[in-house]
Amino acid sequence: MQTDDGQARRARLTRRRLLQSAGVAAASIGVGGTLAACGENENAGQARVGTDTDARELPAPPPAQQPLLCVVTSFFTRAEAETVEAIAARLIPGDENDPGAREACVPAYIDHKLASFESFATPTYFKPPFAKPAMHPTGPQPGAKSTILVDAKELPRYGFQGSSTPQDSYRKGLATLDKVSKKKYGARFAALPEPTQTKLLADLEDGKVAGFKKSKAFFKMVLEDVYEGMFSDPIYGGNRDLAGWKLVGYPGAQRAYTEYELMHGPQHKRVQGLRDMPAMNPGVPQDHAILPLAGTRRTEER
């Protein structure tokens, strides 16, 4: 039997996660004002209009209710969670007045993601042979079984060629990070002073850490996950209080912009996520809007 087990599982998990996070969304709708209002100043008769409109400079919204579920409980061990939090806090630093990845619940986003996907969250072909770097040019190698040799200089052009799942990559990578951190600086990563953490992360990105062969790939994976957690819709658990979008001046999920707004900037927009935006056809249950339906003939469906 050949079925889309993975896909179905993913869909179920997505549905479950959305249901879980519904409570969070309701809470943030309740306070309504987690959301900055863009362009209000024009109606108020002030001078700043048009392309000068800047969401970030507008009056601060009232304080948000304490976020729910900003805890790491699903995939990471306590020690791993501390390391991930420390990394996230260095990648997008912040404090309570200027939220960074930690304040925006990015570690919780990554934790949820890893717990929700046994394999990859993004579509991934994961069959052997897997690439192995060689120090010289190699040929086509028909009949290759588990590995295939590729010139290390050319390998980056082939994109992601990893042979372990994100769950395994985090488990192994976090352990290796603490190992090299202890060896070089005498303490686990989370316990290092912030400037040392930053230095070690830069070395990971540059692939310059002895004893951590795949540090570049590990760093890239974590950085991408931090971006996802910081800048994706809050229904996925990160971007708490829309901190990532407010940081860059992005109004989020809007239904429409007028032709005037395209040229002159947003008018009367509040920063908002999907749950704050009415669906085009609110009569249709949300799950239907988000999960694909199976079907064949349109005439029968309607």
């Binding site: 970030r56 991934t124 086509p140 040799l149 082939y158 809007q254 395209l262 056809n281 079907g295």
Partner: protein, 589 residues
């Protein structure tokens, strides 16, 4: 044991736009037709009612082929090993009812008169020595004038937006002065642009160039098409490419041809039906197709005509996998032509400017809310003293920017896209930087082709398609030229800083998105010695098999393919309806 279905006149592989166009033309006249779609059904309502979700659609590619099932392998040249594109990726083929035309950008072009006579034109103007060694560039075997009525019909059927530049030879201000003559303008006015587009256009004009708004398959206002489909006008919502449109402003099969086809009562789409191969009878003609359903059950769908109407890459693979006693190397491949003349497109951005303190509203609008020049595209400029042929569009960076996949475009002084300094960068400048982008020609070469991979297989055990592709010297020289032009324009746009300039084209990288416009491999032409099909997409060696889509293009001009895919399909549909059915299994003249 395969389930055998009752016979139909036509079966198509895939239920994307070309299948829907054929069905909308043929089924109302009584032709029975089944389309086999590997993905699921999806409709504007309810599926796109609430889809402004970057993570789901742009990061996790909800509308694309699920790479767990199958992917494509790539290598830069025949001497190198090929590896699978394990994650997206250079291109984004669609999966699900409507195919890639649901998530397309809707940049809508007609190719130029000279594009269709590429080899003849270059030889006439510059001599045969101007064509690079190993380059197998060809004429299409069809002219712009022959296609014009079909372009026209397609544009009006899908409610296209734009400003004509040349109506029957009369030049119209504000349109593309380089376009080949059209019978009439677009049904809808051009879309609005953003400040970056306006700035780009003003700079181009100051340099004596000819900017115009991107013609688009997105309706700029409410539109009722000739078949009675009601569509909304564009909301400029900023969730367009990789997304379905919730108001049907963006034309797709779902809001144009599929309703017409389905309402005929003679058309059926079977979803989650993965075609494995075309079956061949003893007479060498196709007898139907074998597919598997979601439960893994095999089916056989007999048909008089098989239309290979999936994405370019899958069309090549299906022909190669359809091996039989009569066609041992696959259908269409009796002379070893399938996979030849595989081409692509040059997309990278040569230059990025930063306008500190200015908001560019890059997150609004869509990929068509931009300005473009054609001055350096095709042979619109004299190549006599240049070391290359062909050219490229230059345009203001497409809009609909999403933070999740764009914050790393800005770096700190050490080149890092993280940390406190970088955070300040994105705080200040995330909506203040913008690029000038190329969309350049890709020529065919002997060492650039697709075939079956010797190592990697799909979920059903069949070999993946292997792509052998890299830039060649002609494209590198062309890029060098247009990159310099882009830099001139950028300087005239007065940025506070130019934060990136690439004088040389970066190495082709399968992991970096370029465009979903792989073309060729099953090309049309005038002779079976140099092509797989005639100009109707009819396969020379198996005349009851037709190929549709960009797989038919002998090379890829500097413009997106969908307009020409539509025109070529309309022409083929007419020929099938009016001539082929009267004299089946014969090659059309």
């Amino acid at each position: 044991m395969a389930i055998r279905h009752s016979h139909v006149d036509v079966v198509t592989i895939g239920a994307g736009w070309t299948a829907a166009m054929l069905a909308a033309r043929l089924c109302p006249e009584g032709t029975t037709m089944v389309s086999l779609e590997q993905g699921k059904a999806q409709w504007t309502y309810p599926h796109f009612a609430h889809d402004h979700d970057s993570l789901r659609y742009s990061v996790r590619y909800a509308l694309m082929v699920d790479l767990q099932r199958e992917t494509w392998t790539w290598r830069p040249n025949p001497r190198s090993p090929a590896l699978p594109m394990r994650q997206y990726g250079s291109f984004n083929p669609g999966m699900g009812l409507g195919g890639a035309a649901v998530h397309w950008s809707a940049q809508l072009w007609r190719y130029l008169d000279t594009d269709f006579r590429y080899r003849s034109h270059v030889v006439e103007r510059y001599g045969a020595q101007k064509i690079p060694a190993g380059c197998t560039v060809q004429d299409w075997g069809i002219t712009y004038d022959e296609l014009e009525p079909y372009y026209d019909a397609f544009e009006w059927d899908i409610g296209a937006s734009g400003q004509a530049g040349n109506i029957r030879g009369r030049k119209i201000p504000g349109g593309n002065p380089f376009e080949s003559p059209r019978a009439r303008g677009y049904p809808n006015p051009p879309l609005q642009v953003t400040p970056h587009g306006a700035n780009f256009a003003a700079a181009c004009e100051s340099l004596g160039l000819h900017p115009f708004t991107q013609p688009s398959g997105i309706a700029s206002r409410a539109w009722t098409d000739p078949h009675g489909n009601h569509r909304g006008g564009c909301l400029y919502c900023g969730f367009c490419t990789r997304f379905g449109c919730e108001v049907d402003a963006k034309a797709s099969p779902l809001n144009t041809h599929l309703p017409v086809a389905l309402n005929s009562g003679n058309y059926e789409v079977r979803t989650q039906a993965k075609v494995l191969r075309i079956e061949t009878g003893r007479d060498g003609l196709a007898s139907g197709v074998t597919y598997v359903d979601a439960q893994g059950q095999e089916h056989f769908q007999p048909a008089d005509v098989v239309v290979v109407s999936a994405f370019t890459l899958e069309n090549n693979r299906i022909l190669l996998l359809s091996r039989s006693k009569v066609h041992p190397s696959g259908i269409g491949n009796d002379r070893g032509r399938v996979g030849r003349n595989y081409t692509y497109q040059i997309y990278p951005a040569p230059v990025t400017g930063l306008w500190e303190g200015r908001q560019l509203n890059m997150y609004m609008g869509n990929t068509c809310t931009i300005k473009i020049i054609y001055d350096y595209n095709a042979d619109n400029f004299d190549h006599s003293d240049l070391d290359f042929i062909g050219g490229s569009q230059l345009y203001s960076e497409p809009c609909e920017r999403e933070p999740v996949n764009s914050v790393d475009a800005l770096k700190d002084t050490k080149g890092r896209a993280w940390g406190a300094d970088w955070k300040d960068q994105i705080r200040k400048n995330w909506d203040s930087y913008a690029q000038i982008v190329t969309e350049g020609e890709s020529l065919p070469y002997l060492d650039q082709f697709v075939d079956l991979d010797p190592n990697y297989r799909d979920r059903w055990g069949d070999p993946l398609l292997r792509i052998t592709f890299d830039w060649h010297d002609n494209q590198r020289a062309m890029w060098r030229f247009v990159a310099r032009k882009a830099l001139e324009i950028m300087k005239a746009m007065n940025p506070t800083k130019i934060i990136d300039f690439k004088p040389e084209i970066p190495a082709y990288n399968i992991a970096k998105y370029q465009s979903t416009h792989p073309t060729g491999g099953c090309i049309m032409g005038t002779s079976p010695d140099h092509s797989v099909t005639n100009s109707y997409g009819q396969v020379w060696d198996t005349p009851n098999v037709f190929v549709t889509g960009a797989a038919l293009f002998p090379q890829n001009p500097g413009a997106n393919p969908t307009g020409t895919v539509g025109a070529v399909t309309y022409r083929a549909a007419e020929a099938i309806a009016e001539r082929y059915f009267k004299d089946p299994n014969q090659l059309l003249d």
